[in-house]
């Protein structure tokens, strides 16, 4: 048995990464070998809500390890007709609803985007069938420079994330790529 004392994980490693990233990025630019946005992003804590409805959410953390802003603009998956990047916003009547993020989700240099129920998230629309707990779902994320990265998430049963969808906002989704 190994007994250790648990220490709350701070975001220190990120700060270090961000500090290192600036000179590295500068060097990379001069060499013309700058990483793509997809290569700059690490994915962690990802999961997808199991459902028998026609849409569901993907959640997790996207960390931009580069010195430049990256933008998540959309994606594609075999299990759904469309992949959209959503945010929660207030309607005119004061209620909250989700809608597509105009111009995609921007992640500043060295920052982490938390995709979570009630906040920003990736939405799978027009699901082709139910998603059951424990199923591993692959979503190919697409970034502002056209680069792509696979996100693999295990489905979990979850009662939340039932936000009302307010279509008509944003630029209209598509299963692009």
């Amino acid at each position: 048995m190994r007994t250790t004392s648990f220490i709350t994980r701070a975001r220190r490693p990120l700060a270090i990464l961000a500090a290192l990233a600036l000179p590295l990025a500068a060097t990379a630019c001069s060499d013309d070998t700058e990483a793509t946005q997809a290569e700059s992003v690490t994915i962690s804590d990802q999961w997808i809500k199991a459902t028998d409805k026609d849409m569901t959410g993907v959640f997790g953390k996207l960390t931009n390890t580069s010195g430049e802003e990256v933008t998540l603009v959309g994606g594609k998956t075999g299990v759904a007709g469309r992949v959209e990047v959503h945010e929660m916003a207030m309607n005119a009547d004061g209620t909250m609803a989700m809608r597509q993020v105009d111009g995609g989700l921007k992640i500043p240099a060295g920052d982490t985007a938390d995709l979570e129920p009630g906040g920003n998230h990736i939405m799978l629309m027009d699901l082709k069938g139910p998603i059951l707990a424990g199923e591993a779902i692959t979503v190919t994320l697409r970034f502002g420079d056209g680069s792509q990265k696979d996100l693999v998430a295990d489905a979990r049963d979850f009662r939340g994330a039932n936000e009302e969808y307010a279509p008509g906002h944003g630029s209209g989704g598509s299963n692009d790529g």
Binding site: R2, T3, F6, A50, L132, A133, G134, D154, R156
Partner: protein
Amino acid sequence: MTDDDRDHRERGKRGRGPALSRRSLIAGVAGAAGLGVGATAIARSADSAGASVHGGDVIEFYGEHQAGVTTPPTAHVNYIGFDLAADSERQAREALAGILRVWTEDAARLTRGAPALADSEPELARVPARLTVTVGLGPGSFTRTGLEGRRPRWLHPLPAYPIDRLDERRWPQTDLLLQICSDDPITVAHATRVLTSNVAGRIRLRWVQRGFRNARGSQDEKVTMRNLMGQVDGTVNLGPGDFDTLVWDDGGEQPWFAGGTSMVLRRIAMDLDRWQELDPASQELTVGRRLSDGAPLSGGGEHDDPDFDKLVDGLPAIPASSHIARARHRTPAEQFLRRGYNYDDPPEPGPDGVLPISNSGLLFAAYQRDVDTQFAPVQARLAEHDALNEWTTPIGSGVYAILPGARRGQVLGQSLLA
């Protein structure tokens, strides 16, 4: 060695807390030898204040074996029995694979004090308090999934013993078992909730059996637990030197199972009302041990070997029908690791609506390489005759294959489903 020296030595060994001694406290706080008692009390309280916060203690989840078997038993447990929710062999197999993926990830997180994924109460994950999550498979996980050829030979219901009064509806054998242990009952409740609700659509919950041992820190962990009949319970047990030969499977029969073990979970109700009718001397003769310290009635201390040949006034000091005489292993193979917990649940109303005084007993958990050769002979002997049977009744029984451990990056059951 004086008390002061010992104080210094103990503190030095632990390498924590301020280097106070009774002498410095007496000199600095009380200032007079006559107030030494009070000063000692302060020193103790300062000491226990430093040592009594254990919530950050972590037991590693990943490894060759699952935690929760040979790791120290914590204060609280939930044993949770599930069946797979599936209509076909293919569905059952997919459900099993999916459940094990989710449980591995979430258990690894929770046991290190991090929230599970889809954890709607992440704040409750901050205090692992030696949380362990241990996953076992019942026979149904093999027969319902088309994996019958990989079922360990001993994974079947125990024989029907004459002492059994099993409530198959309330405490049935299940397809899956989660054993969740922690020193903090809030942590146990949270882990139970998250691990269950995250796969809710894939399972049918059959039962939760809640148990407890002594609170962490109320006595030295080396002290043997008492059951609710007041007996020192668990004196004869396996030690670390026995685990590789008697607990952990070597993969000889089912290569995928190397590093796993078996678990027998028996819910044993105690009739505390009728036990109370027995005078203490008779209670001791029933068990074969002294109530005060657990020493065998043949003499010595708790951990001295019982002398079953010793006579007192021409009669055996330890009756041949006593619990320890019947339970004693007859061959070296008849040994297993015991890691039981007490239960003391709210009494259930009888037919007249009136509640009995108590609903107590033991959640007897035994771990061994082979149920048939190690556990079953002893249980058969006890079922045939054991003076204690008069006051104890098995009402639930299950056998589980405790999966081999997962290394970092692996999933529990990976070798089974590969």
